[in-house]
């Protein structure tokens, strides 16, 4: 499985590829776009983008020199007609640079790109929310060669979809993306912090009522409060455990490392690390964690050993045991790894690897 990892600046391409990112993805918001549309809406993220075509070409060259490829995101939820025209030109330009793939979030744009004979692959973004084989097949008919699965699928669903559609590649999230809702069904904007930020992080207070008009009794009120307390805790995990990291700089937060054996067995083509807007140190640490876990899988072939290794990387078994940090929590339902694996020195040495970045 390839590691798909993000960059936001040219300087990040070489270290990310050297660390093990086989596919680098990035966005671009060129000046001619902002001049024309007065927005940064080339893709889903307003920040963390390249701004010059020359930089994009340089990223492609650098990645190629390291044996990696580059994918360009065009993953806004939706585009207007005139924006699609500009994006088609951008796609052609990217193909001429030697770009590998376009990650597309709008089905109309995907279809329009699929009609063209561009020497660049089309990957259906997780924004297209393909949660079943029929959706994957339809996107494939429109031109997608790979389906990036939404982060809220289960391992059984991944395996079922991949088995049903061997003609398509599949990619799944493995680290860092903390959306609470489904990104493909989110019609909100990440507002500036002073206006509330992302809606899932905004400080909404919830007042519950029964729809039959009766008042909540004490037991109901207590149960609802306890549920919300758990929900607050889950949110903390979803958002990087308070956006924290280990002393060695390994990020906490949404994680699917223990599930890598299942993903490999399902035949996944790639696993995705999110966090394009994050600092380079965080991205590098993420790539190295995934690489190290994949290496362990290749060396042992044992899912329990991989889980023990992965859970030992950050040396916080309590966070892993909660399940709230997991993309694929079902892995915790399996028998516990043998003690010798769980406490293995390899876990500690990997986390203390001097090549890993230190705490910032």
């Amino acid at each position: 499985m390839k590691i798909v990892a993000p960059i936001s600046r040219v300087e990040e391409a070489a270290p990310m590829a050297a660390a093990g990112a086989g596919e680098i993805y990035c966005g671009i918001v060129p000046a001619d776009w902002t001049d024309r549309f007065r927005s940064a809406g080339v893709n889903r993220r307003a920040f963390g983008n390249l701004t010059r075509y020359e930089d994009l070409a340089e990223v492609v060259d650098i990645a190629s020199g390291h044996g990696a490829t580059v994918s360009l995101v065009m993953n806004a939820q939706h585009y207007a007609d005139e924006q699609v025209d500009v994006l088609l030109d951008l796609a052609g330009r990217f193909a001429e640079m030697g770009g590998h793939a376009l990650i597309v979030g709008d089905i109309g744009l995907l279809a329009r790109l699929g009609e063209r004979d561009l020497p660049v692959r089309l990957h259906a973004s997780s924004l297209l929310a393909a949660r079943n084989a029929e959706a994957a097949a339809l996107l494939g008919r429109l031109g997608a060669r790979r389906i990036v699965l939404p982060r809220d699928v289960t391992l059984d669903e991944i395996a079922a979809m991949a088995a049903r559609r061997p003609d398509l590649e599949f990619e799944a999230f493995v680290l860092n993306d903390g959306c609470v809702f489904e990104e493909g069904n989110c019609h909100t904007i990440h507002l500036p912090g002073r206006l509330g930020g992302p809606i899932c992080l905004d400080r909404y207070a919830t007042g519950y009522s029964r729809v039959d008009g009766r008042a909540l009794d004490d037991a109901e009120a207590k149960a609802l409060a306890a549920n919300d307390e758990c929900h607050d805790r889950w949110l903390w995990y979803r958002f990087g455990c308070g956006f924290s990291q280990t002393p060695e700089g390994l990020p906490f937060g949404p994680c699917g490392l223990c599930a890598l054996p299942d993903m490999a067995a399902a035949g996944l083509a790639a696993v995705k690390i999110a966090g394009r807007e994050g600092p380079l140190e965080r991205k590098l640490a993420s790539v190295r964690m995934v690489r190290a876990t994949l290496d362990r899988l290749e060396a042992t072939g044992r899912a329990d050993a991989v889980a023990a290794f992965a859970q030992g990387l950050r040396r916080r078994p309590d966070l892993c045991a909660s399940g709230y940090m997991c993309y694929y929590r079902e892995v915790l339902d399996r028998p516990a790894p043998p003690p010798q694996d769980r406490a293995g020195d390899d876990c500690v040495s990997a986390a203390a690897d001097p090549t890993l970045p230190r705490a910032m």
Binding site: L139, H187, L191
Partner: protein, 299 residues
């Protein structure tokens, strides 16, 4: 003339609504316990001519085969139109949908909110009528937006040529839309497909992990994909408020959460935009949210 459809998650509510034949919107409002909700001028007196059964937001709320069969028969016997509303579907949800489709007579509308559903209909039941639901018709609908300027950051492509071409390729001739915050009459003008608009509530975002659906789960089993729930969303509604952060300048729309989905109530200005588009003939169907809404009186 705009026709009126009513959505129902709970098919059992049909009995009360159809007891006297085709009900008016006002009669449905009285039976379903709506307070005075913002609706376009004159809508309250119009007859409801269609019922949309099922859920756009959660596959757990799809009707059983028996419920669907009985509901389709009851609505048909009243001489009214019927549609099956479907949500984003998991692998298991797609199997459930496949079990429901045989109970729909040819010509029945299926509201698809998953491209897999669109594909399935095209492949296995081309005699049914696919409708692109509002989850497929994407636009910025953040209830917190302080001004219309923000909606222009990501202009919606519902009426764009490329999206229209995909719909045409899939045999979709009708779309369902929400009225977005700061809606303009022109937002509803298509020219390519027929346009249904939901009122008086729009949806902003939905999740798969369900907060209220986790109420009865053990802590380690809460907020997980594919979780089992007790349909707590049929019992509780959550009113959301940002306090002074949202209410200070009065721009936040009234917001609530039902099940896994966050909704907003139309402002008077949004209702006026819908009203104007109806008058122009750009909206030919208004879809009223029957039972999965913010209302709290006995159902």
């Amino acid at each position: 003339m705009t026709e009126i459809a009513l959505t129902l998650v709970q098919a059992r509510l049909l009995d009360g609504l159809l007891a006297g034949g085709a009900p008016t919107v006002a009669e449905c409002a009285a039976r379903l316990g709506w307070p005075a909700v913002p609706l376009p001028e004159g809508v309250a007196g119009l007859p409801v001519t269609r019922f949309h059964l099922g859920s756009e937001f959660c596959e757990t709320l799809l009707p059983t085969e028996i419920q669907l069969r009985q509901a389709v028969a009851a609505v048909g016997a009243a001489g009214l139109g019927v549609a099956l509303a479907t949500p984003v579907l998991s692998v298991a949800g797609m199997e459930a949908l496949a079990g429901l489709l045989p109970h729909l007579p040819p010509g029945t509308e299926v509201i698809a909110n998953d491209w897999g559903c669109v594909g399935l209909l095209r492949e296995s039941r081309p005699d049914l009528v696919p409708v692109a639901g509002r989850l497929l018709c994407k636009m910025v609908k953040d209830p917190r937006l302080p001004s219309a300027e923000w909606t222009r950051l990501y202009p919606h492509g519902i009426h764009s040529g490329p999206f229209g071409a995909v719909l045409a390729r899939m045999g979709v001739e009708r779309i369902e839309m929400d009225a977005p915050p700061f809606a303009r009459m022109e937002d509803f003008r298509s020219g390519r497909v027929r346009v249904s608009v939901h009122a008086p509530y729009g949806f902003s975002v939905k999740g798969r992990a369900c907060r209220i659906g986790s109420l009865s789960a053990e802590p380690g089993d809460k907020f997980v994909s594919g979780q089992e729930c007790r349909r707590e969303c049929l019992i509780y509604v959550g009113t959301l408020s940002r306090g002074e952060a949202g209410d200070g300048d009065g721009t936040d729309l009234v917001t609530y959460q039902r099940g896994n989905t966050l909704f907003y109530r139309h402002s008077p200005a949004m209702t006026a935009a819908v009203d104007a588009a109806m008058a122009k003939g750009w909206i030919d169907r208004l879809i009223l949210n029957g039972d999965w809404n913010e209302n709290r009186r006995a159902h």
